[in-house]
C-alpha cells in the first residue's frame, strides 16, 4: 500500500492570523488543506491517507472531508508538539494496520501545488531505495553565517538543493529512524530524512518543482493566490 501522511498540525504563527491555522485559510472558496488533499485523493497510486491535525481542529477537518468528498482519508491522527512528534504519532498509528513494506509519503498540508508526477516519483523512489527527499536545485547562492553578521562560508551552489516535501519512506525504515531519535531524546528535527541519515541509511533525491512551495507567510499566500487563476475564462 502507498499511504500519504498529510501534516496539518501546525498553528501558523508566522502568518499573523490568529483565528485559524494557515492550512485552513480559504483560497478562492476552498481551504489550502483541501487543495492539497484533493491531489492525493485523486492520485491512482495512493491507497489511503492519514491526516495529522490539531485536536481542536479535528471536527473542522471532518466537516471539510465530508463537504469536499475526500474519500481516502482513513486515519485522523492527533498532532504532536513538534513536527517530528506529529510524524511519530502517524507512524505509531500506521504501524498497527500497515505492513513494514508499505510506502509512506509524508507531505506538508501547506504545499497545495504538489503534482501527481512528484508523488509518483516519490513512490517509485521509496520502493527502490527505501527513502527519498523531494528537492529543487537552488538558483540563488546560499551564504552561511553563524552570527548573522558576517559570512562564514559560501558553499558550492551546484551541490546545494532546497528541500521540499513529500519525503517518502518504507514504513519499517521511518519507524526505525523515529525510534532511534526518541531513544536519543532528539525530538525537534524538522526533517524526517535527517533522522534516516542518522541511522546511517541513504536518502535519494527526487526532483521537485519551484511551484511546490510552502505557504508560511503572507507573501507566500499572495503568491499562491496569484498562481491560482480560476480556469473559468469565458470564450466566445
Amino acid at each position: 500500500m502507498n499511504i500519504a501522511v498529510i501534516l496539518a498540525g501546525g498553528i501558523g504563527n508566522r502568518m499573523g492570523i490568529v483565528d485559524k491555522p494557515k492550512q485552513f485559510i480559504d483560497i478562492y472558496g476552498k481551504p489550502i488543506i483541501v487543495h492539497t488533499l484533493e491531489v492525493f485523493d485523486n492520485h491512482p497510486e495512493i491507497d489511503a491517507i492519514a491526516v495529522v491535525c490539531l485536536n481542536e481542529w479535528m471536527d473542522d477537518l471532518r466537516i471539510l472531508l465530508r463537504k469536499y468528498e475526500i474519500n481516502k482519508v482513513k486515519w485522523l491522527v492527533e498532532g504532536g508538539e513538534t513536527r517530528q512528534l506529529s510524524v511519530y504519532n502517524a507512524v505509531q498509528t500506521l504501524a498497527v494496520e500497515c505492513s513494514d513494506d508499505d510506502i509512506i509519503v509524508v507531505h506538508d498540508s501547506v504545499r497545495p501545488l504538489v503534482t501527481h508526477k512528484i508523488i509518483s516519483s516519490n513512490i517509485a523512489g521509496a520502493k527502490q531505495f527505501g527513502a527519498v527527499d523531494t528537492v529543487v536545485p537552488t538558483a540563488d547562492t546560499i551564504v552561511r553565517s553563524v552570527d548573522g553578521e558576517k559570512i562564514n562560508e559560501i558553499p558550492l551552489r551546484s551541490e546545494l538543493y532546497l528541500g521540499q516535501t513529500p519525503q517518502s519512506f518504507r514504513l519499517s525504515l521511518l519507524k526505525r529512524a523515529h525510534e532511534k531519535a526518541r531513544a536519543e531524546k532528539n525530538i525537534n528535527s524538522t526533517d524526517d530524512c535527517q533522522l534516516v541519515l542518522q541511522l546511517g541509511e541513504e536518502v535519494h533525491l527526487v526532483q521537485g518543482e519551484k511551484l511546490n512551495f510552502k505557504i508560511t507567510s503572507f507573501d507566500d499566500l499572495l503568491l499562491l493566490k496569484a498562481v491560482i487563476k480560476l480556469g473559468k475564462t469565458e470564450i466566445l
Partner: protein, 347 residues
C-alpha cells in the same frame, strides 16, 4: 483539484496557468496523456485569424485531439485508470432549445448546433494536466489500441462524418484531392468502409504513393476524367483550395457531389457556372459528432486499419514543461512530412 494548464495568450506565447478543477456530478476528471496538434491549433498559435476573433479567443487552451486516463468519475461509468478519447464538441443541455435544432438531424448533428462548444475553438481545449469533462463525451478506447493511435480518432471521425454526410450507396467511385494528412485519413477510411473505387489526386508523388487507394494521379492529369468520379472530396484547404475545387468541378460527372473539408482563411473563387451546368452539389463536411467518434473507435479496433494509421506517427514528443510545449508547436510548424508528432504529457 489544482492542475497545470497551458493557455495561448497572444501569437506564439503560452502562459502557465494553475486551474482549479471542480468535478460536477455528471463529469469525470481525466489526466491528459497523449495529444496531437491540428492545423487549427497552429493558426491560433501563429495568430493567423483576424485580430478581433483572436481577442475573443485568447487566453485559451489549445488541442482537441487527445487521449487521457480517468482519475475520478463522479458517475461511476468508468474505472480509475481507464483510457478514454475526449469528444471535443459539447452541446450544453440547458441551451438545447434552438429554434431550428439540427442536433437530431442525422446528416448534421450536434456539432452544427449554434449552442455547441468545440474545444480549442470556442471552449478551452486539452493542453493541460487534467480536465473535468462530461462523461457523456468520453469514450473508452479499445483494449487492443495504442493510445498514441487513438489521438487520430478525431480526424477519423471527421472522415466518417464526411462519408455519412453524402449518404453513399457504397459502390460509387470516389476522388480524394489532397496529399496531406486529411486526404490520407479520408482515403484510408474510405478503403475500409466503402466498396467502390477510391482515387487520390495530389501534387507530391512521394506522399501520394503512401496513400491507400486504388488509383493515384498527379493534379492536372487528363486521365482523371476517365475515372468517372461520382463523388469527390477536397482535402487541400488554404491558398490552393480554389485550384483543387475547380479541378474537381471539371473532372466530376454531371450531378456529382462534392464534399469540402479544407479550411481557407481567404474567400475562394470557384467556377459556379460549371456547377450550375453540371448540377453539382457541394457539402461542408468538417464536423463530426459523438456517433462518428464511436464508429472511428470501432474502426480502430481493426488491426489492419491500425497499421495504416500507425504510418502517420512521426515522433513522440515528451511534454515535461511549457518549454517542451513550445518546441512541439515549432516542430509541427516545420513538419512537411505526411504525419503528425504525438505529444506525450508528463506534467
Amino acid at each position: 483539484m489544482l492542475g497545470k494548464s497551458f493557455k495561448i495568450v497572444e501569437p506564439r506565447r503560452f502562459d502557465l496557468y494553475i486551474d482549479d478543477l471542480v468535478c460536477a456530478s455528471d463529469e469525470a476528471i481525466v489526466k491528459i496523456e497523449y495529444a496531437a496538434i491540428c492545423k487549427a491549433d497552429l493558426r491560433y498559435y501563429l495568430g493567423a485569424r483576424d485580430k478581433r476573433t483572436l481577442g475573443f479567443k485568447y487566453p485559451m487552451n489549445l488541442l482537441h485531439e487527445a487521449v487521457g486516463s480517468i482519475i475520478l468519475d463522479r458517475t461511476n461509468r468508468f474505472k480509475v485508470g481507464e483510457r478514454v478519447v475526449l469528444v471535443p464538441n459539447i452541446v450544453p443541455k440547458e441551451k438545447h432549445d434552438c429554434a431550428h435544432c439540427v442536433c437530431a438531424r442525422p446528416d448534421l448533428g450536434e456539432n452544427y448546433c449554434p449552442n455547441s462548444f468545440f474545444a480549442s475553438s470556442n471552449y478551452n481545449g486539452f493542453a493541460r494536466e487534467y480536465v473535468n469533462y462530461p462523461v457523456e463525451y468520453l469514450l473508452k478506447i479499445p483494449i487492443n489500441l495504442e493510445p498514441q493511435l487513438a489521438t487520430f480518432a478525431e480526424l477519423i471521425s471527421v472522415a466518417i462524418s464526411a462519408y455519412r454526410r453524402l449518404s453513399l450507396n457504397g459502390k460509387e467511385t470516389i476522388g480524394v484531392w489532397g496529399d496531406g494528412i486529411v486526404g490520407y485519413l479520408l482515403s484510408t477510411t474510405l478503403r475500409h468502409v466503402h466498396q467502390g473505387k477510391i482515387v487520390v489526386v495530389g501534387k507530391d508523388k512521394g506522399k501520394l504513393r503512401q496513400f491507400k487507394a486504388h488509383a493515384h494521379y498527379l493534379a492536372g492529369d487528363p486521365k482523371i476524367s476517365e475515372e468517372e468520379l461520382e463523388i469527390a472530396y477536397e482535402c487541400v484547404g488554404g491558398g490552393f483550395s480554389a485550384e483543387a475545387i475547380n479541378e474537381i468541378i471539371d473532372q466530376i460527372v454531371v450531378g456529382g457531389r462534392i464534399g469540402l473539408t479544407g479550411v481557407a482563411e481567404e474567400q475562394v473563387g470557384i467556377n459556379t457556372r460549371k456547377i450550375l451546368e453540371k448540377g453539382l452539389s457541394l457539402y461542408g463536411v468538417t464536423r463530426s459528432n459523438k456517433n462518428d467518434f464511436e464508429k472511428a473507435l470501432a474502426l480502430l479496433e481493426n488491426e489492419k486499419f491500425q497499421a495504416d494509421i500507425a504510418q502517420l506517427v512521426l515522433k513522440e514528443l515528451m511534454i515535461n514543461d511549457i518549454t517542451d510545449f513550445y518546441r512541439a508547436f515549432e516542430a509541427e510548424l516545420e513538419n512537411k512530412s505526411l504525419g503528425k508528432n504525438i505529444l506525450r504529457f508528463n506534467l
